[in-house]
């Protein structure tokens, strides 16, 4: 359904953030992007949703295709209209609007009032803790509630594809597990394809179908969740562990393997 072909992204004409990423997301799939800070997870999502250009970046090479037609030259609002919903990193709520208004703004592109109120009820089913906070200004919600709110807001547009950027950021471990259970539930019940950038490897791998590990703007490895979970290179690339489980020396980038160049000039921090 969604396909990225060898895309390269550059910020402000100088910073190379993606250096040839190819991945695909099929209908109903739950795919995760893993990788260190600065490995290009967020940029990958932004190149899909078109937000990249608002933030001063651009795609210099490659294509993003949705159902076979290119979407990489479209503006974010047009891409949103095609059914791709990007949940930005760091809870981009609208603090002056209350919970319900935040949800309603998610349905901005829809005009059918009846189904909107039905979907509103559905969001409250997924996130029961939001229901009593309907009329509270969203700026006063807790971090976890705000995260639920932005996911619920994305759901309100009935997206075909949801891109989530680190939904677990700053949440307590208990909530993280819960959050991913709900994401899996959304994936199954709403048939929404999910592409989730995540730092919490265990929680994400437990529910995802497939995963990619990014490293310095490239795909280091990929595979289905089970194989990825036990895959030694994930540990190495992501957790900073050697294949035998010992820590990699501090002086070397966790991503750097023996066959990498020793000058380190290809490593973005």
């Amino acid at each position: 359904m969604l396909e990225l072909n060898n895309i390269k992204a550059v910020y402000n004409d100088v910073v190379l953030a993606l250096d040839g990423i190819s991945l695909r997301l099929d209908a109903g799939q739950f795919v995760i992007l893993l990788g260190n800070n600065g490995s290009g997870k967020s940029t990958t999502l932004k190149s899909i949703s078109g937000v990249l250009r608002i933030e001063g970046g651009e795609l210099t090479e490659g294509t993003v295709e949705l159902d076979g037609s290119r979407i990489d030259r479209l503006t974010p609002e047009v891409i949103a209209g095609r059914g791709i919903r990007h949940v930005l990193q760091g809870r981009s709520i609208f603090p002056q609007l209350n919970t319900e208004e935040n949800l309603l703004i998610g349905a901005y592109l829809r005009r059918d009032r009846k189904t909107i109120s039905k979907d509103l009820a559905r969001v409250y089913e997924y996130f029961p803790s939001l229901a009593p906070l309907r009329t509270r200004k969203s700026g006063f919600l807790s971090g976890g509630e705000q995260q639920m709110l932005v996911i619920g807001r994305a759901l309100m547009s009935r997206p075909r594809i949801m891109l989530l950027d680190e939904p677990s950021l700053g949440l307590s471990p208990g909530i993280i597990g819960n959050l991913f259970t709900i994401l899996a539930q959304i994936n199954k019940e709403e048939k929404t394809s999910l592409l989730v950038a995540e730092q919490n490897v265990a929680a994400a791998l437990a529910v995802a179908d497939y995963g990619y590990v990014l490293q310095s703007g490239k795909i280091a490895t990929s595979g289905d969740a089970d194989s990825l979970g036990s895959y030694a290179r994930v540990k190495q690339a992501y957790l900073g562990l050697n294949e035998d489980g010992s820590f990699i020396s501090r002086h070397r980038s966790p991503m750097q393997t023996a066959d990498d160049d020793t000058t380190g000039q290809n490593n973005r921090q």
Binding site: S49, G50, V51, I54, E55, T75, P76, E77, A80, G81, R85, H86, L88, S92, F94, P95, Q96, L97, E100, E101, L104, I105, G106, Y108, L109, S117, L120, R134, T135, R153, S157
Partner: protein, 348 residues
């Protein structure tokens, strides 16, 4: 908090939500109706004229509240939109001989279309750059109107006709008061309804986070354009009413400082809400009138020049004090009072 149960969003956002609010609104409007009669009895027409000007300013500020308060685009050219509306009505009534009731909406619409010319570069920009573009527009508009012969150059245009309702010509301050009161109340109602609408929510999202708004499918430039359009409709209506009320239009009636005061009223009232805009206008206008009365009374030995500067100084101080100690404006003081009242005796 006392139990209040509302189950659907329509009830949540209704303009008037409870019986008690109905009473408040009716009492408030009743007071506004009686007020000029009391002032009339005491023979103080001066105050009625002050109230009339306040209504006109309020209509203009409601427009700026949409552009700046709701959509977050700082406009320093608002007084130019008021001016264009005023000149539009003057030209249509004097030169073309139209009825004022036709001239008002047409002038407002034409002004709003002209606004789009400024808005098209402005919507591509952010923050201070928008302010600079609108400021430039203000001076360009002033210069053009002052140089043209049809607009009367620096002398402006005089003799704009008064509106008439069912054969009754609105002439005195007292009659104008009721006309302006009705128009202002309608404008307030429109403004409140914009806040509650889909478009109103879109305004707030682009103010709070443009990136997130775009990712939600909101066409940010189009929404900004609409904010400017609606905002200048209000401004032009205010200008048209002013032109007919005074009944003169001259470029020096519409100064850059007016734009600044409009912004100040929004800041002091609490940006983004209609109630805040109303409070801000009422508050700053009252301060200026009190200073004016004190200045004119001769209690303090000051020349009229001095009292103008003192007014500006106190205005400025008020804004500084509000920004430092009450950045959310008068509206937040009101909201806190309300919550504390409901929770009494468990208030904060």
């Amino acid at each position: 908090m006392r139990g209040r149960r509302r189950i659907d969003y329509a009830a949540d956002i209704a303009v008037i939500r409870s019986g008690r609010q109905w009473i408040t609104v009716v009492v408030f409007i009743g007071l506004l109706v009686i007020l000029p009669m009391i002032l009339n009895v005491t023979g103080n027409m001066n105050w009625v004229s002050f109230l009339n000007h306040t209504f006109i300013i309020l209509i203009a500020v409601l427009g700026l509240n949409i552009v700046t308060g709701m959509a977050g685009q700082i406009s320093l050219g608002h007084s130019a939109f008021v001016m264009l509306g005023g000149y539009g009505v003057a030209l249509l009534t004097i030169k073309a001989g139209w009825s004022i009731w036709l001239a008002l909406p047409v002038s407002a619409l034409v002004t709003a279309l002209i606004t789009l010319v400024v808005a098209i570069p402005a919507i591509r920009l952010k923050g201070f750059y928008v302010a600079v573009v609108t400021l430039a527009f203000f001076y360009i508009a002033q210069y053009i109107i002052r140089s043209l012969e049809t607009t009367g150059g620096i002398h402006g245009l005089t003799g704009i006709p008064s509106p008439a309702i069912a054969g009754l010509t609105i002439k005195t301050d007292f009659q104008w008061y009721f006309l302006l009161l009705i128009i202002t109340l309608v404008c307030i109602l429109v403004s409140v309804n914009i806040t509650r609408s889909r478009l109103g929510r879109a305004f707030l999202t682009i103010r709070d986070n443009e990136t997130a708004a775009a990712a939600l499918g909101i066409r940010v430039p189009m929404v900004k354009l609409r904010a400017f359009f609606i905002g200048s409709l209000f401004a032009a209506l205010a200008g048209g009413l002013l032109a007919s009320y005074v009944p003169v239009v001259r470029t020096d009636q519409f100064t850059f400082w007016d734009s600044i005061w409009y912004l100040g009223m929004i800041v002091i009232g609490g940006g983004g809400t209609t109630a805040g805009a109303v409070m801000g206008v009422a508050f700053l206008r009252l301060i200026s009138q009190i200073l004016h009365v004190i200045g004119a009374s001769g209690w303090i030995p000051l020349s009229s020049n001095d009292s103008v500067y003192i007014t500006y100084t106190i205005y400025g101080l008020t804004i500084i004090l509000f920004v430092s100690f009450q950045p959310r404006g008068l509206i937040s003081i009101w909201q806190k009072l309300k919550v504390n009242y409901k929770r009494w005796p468990f208030g904060v």
